[in-house]
Amino acid sequence: MRLELDGVGIVHGSRTVVSDVRLTVEPGEVVGLLGRNGCGKSSLLRTCFRAARPAAGRVLLDGADVTTLHRREIARRVAVMSQEPADDLGLTVAESVLLGRTPHHRGFGQDTSEDRDLAQAAMARTGVLHLAQRTMPTLSGGERQRVLLARALTQEAQVLVLDEPTNHLDLAYRFELMRLVAEAGAATLVALHDLDLAMGYCDRVAVLDGGGLTDLGPPEQVLTPALVRAVFGVEAAPTVHPATGRHHLLLSGAAEPQERPA
């Protein structure tokens, strides 16, 4: 399934946060959404599953405008991992993952064995199977993120929308999670703060700055030292890993935030 943002604009109160964002995420592609705090990343992601309506433009799923789809239909197509504070009422991890089946069922019925198989497979992949009977309030931040990813996988959607999925994660799980996301084969739009992670796992990156989408393309072409300095206010040195041949960014602070050259 293809996710398409067609001229999307976001307005908070009277302030225009971003306008005219045009971006297509192809099936199986991972697109990273980069930008500083408050640049509108989360708001853009929220329009993808109609948690918010864009002030302008449209969000299309295989050409169908999300505002014309029923919520349940959207949820069957788009799975989301959002940044939301922890659960207050104590569902267990297994129950929380099984919530991913919500858009596929109605009414009072119990979960089917197919539901449980899907949930179990997803929990095994994200390494939370041993937590199955723990309740959500007892989890650490990183464990919680992995449970949320398992829920998103259980939802069996062809589009994944992830807002800072690597927050709170151990280093090892940070890479593991991005690998799992890439392997899931969905059209994936992921907001990231970690530029090096974006370099390693995104097929393309989209940079939001100054109220619009400024750059879009393969990370090693987009994330030049000049752009990183201008948008993020840090110094970057691109390098290639001697053993794996992958592109990386060496980052260091120090540079003063500057106006970006036009």
Binding site: E84, D87, L99, A124, R125
Partner: protein, 369 residues
């Protein structure tokens, strides 16, 4: 870390070794069944206890005789008309009303706690009970008892309160949980002030009946007073049965629930109205019975977890059992005098809940935070 998919089970395979198997599923069934049986026993004990003494079995036979036509003991002189009358016209309606009120209030509590995601939520925080009290107390205080029944006035008061709370809590058509709690508490305080003023300024002879209403009582129950709570429970049961997966999803957060295809705002409004209806139906016939709607949902959740497919049935039966037991105590501990029901529920409920709250299950439910 393994990335292999877990070996898939065939659908007929037993789930005995699945890590997803939850022993609380079985526990919920057993507890719900046992509570139902206990409820029947308590209702029969209650129907047989009083100045005209009978055994619970006699009470059961009399009740059965009214439900099934043509049973021999109803016409062969086994029971006097007086015995028949106290069981069918006085004791049974009252114990059934206690059971219905308990079920309705604890379901309202379950819904409110899920909808506002706050463990402090209970039917009283909506301000509905306080509104009903204003209605009931004004009828008593103004002395309009002949013209309007206390129930009708209480229901009107409750309706006014619901509308007021909804108007105060909504903004751009969206009801935010925190604003709802604050609006409910504020309006509740306002209504209580009105009630207090009316109580203080009314004739001394009215004060006792006012207090009896405020503390809650089922002593005036007739078969007629069962109609309102029963209808409310049926409506609520249908609503919950149709939306239970969405209610579960709400506990994961508004945004997560939206992403799972749940129409969060619509569902929240629907469930709030349902809870308000349950509360209003009970308060208008039984007064302000406190504590049931707060404690029974928590106890049920500690016992069987937060999945509403298990929680709701147990909370319904548990609430019914708790309140009918409390009513049995309320009219026996200092017989022939009666203790208001609200006093009994708080006196047994609070210590029990405090004890339960200190256990490990409470920490797992997030109460310990």
């Amino acid at each position: 870390m393994t990335t292999e998919l877990a070996p898939s089970r065939t659908s007929s395979a037993p789930a005995a070794h699945s890590p997803l198997r939850d022993r609380r599923v079985l526990r919920a069934r057993v507890l719900t069944l046992c509570s139902t049986l206990a409820l029947v026993v308590v209702v029969l004990i209650s129907a047989s206890t009083g100045t005209v003494n009978l055994t619970p079995i006699d009470a059961g036979r009399l009740v059965l005789g009214h439900l099934v036509p043509g049973l021999p003991w109803m016409s062969d002189g086994s029971y006097t008309p007086l015995q028949d009358q106290v069981v069918w016209q006085f004791r049974l309606p009252r114990t059934l009303l206690a059971a219905l009120a308990g079920a309705a209030l604890s379901l309202a509590g379950v819904l409110l706690q899920a909808v506002v995601r706050n463990p402090l939520a209970e039917p009283a925080i909506l301000g509905v009970s306080a509104g009903a009290s204003v209605g009931a107390v004004s009828v008593v205080a103004i002395g309009a008892l002949g013209a309007v029944s206390v129930s009708a006035a209480a229901f009107t008061g409750a309706t006014v309160a619901i509308v007021a709370v909804f108007l105060a809590a909504q903004k751009n058509g969206r009801i935010a949980p925190q604003r709802l709690i604050l609006a409910g508490v504020a309006l509740g305080t306002f209504f209580s002030a009105v009630t207090s003023y009316l109580t203080l300024t009314t004739d001394a002879q009215n004060v006792f009946s006012v207090l009896f209403f405020l503390l809650g009582s089922v002593s005036a129950a007739t078969m007629q007073s069962l109609v309102g709570p029963s209808c409310a429970l049926v409506v609520a049961a249908v609503v919950v049965a149709c939306t239970v997966r969405g209610i579960n999803a709400l506990s994961a957060g508004d945004e997560a629930a939206t992403a799972l295809g749940v129409p969060v705002n619509g569902l929240r409004a629907l469930l709030l109205l349902t809870a308000a209806l349950l509360t209003a139906a009970v308060v208008s016939v039984a007064g302000g019975i406190g504590f049931v709607g707060l404690v029974v949902p928590h106890v049920a959740r500690l016992l069987v977890g937060a999945d509403h497919r298990r929680l709701v049935p147990l909370a319904l039966v548990g609430g019914a059992l708790f309140l009918s037991t409390a009513d049995l105590l309320a009219r026996t501990v200092s017989a022939p005098a009666e203790v208001p029901l609200g006093i009994v529920t708080a006196m047994i409920g609070a210590p029990f809940f405090l004890w339960l709250m200190r256990g490990q299950a409470a920490d797992a439910q997030g109460i310990g935070r």
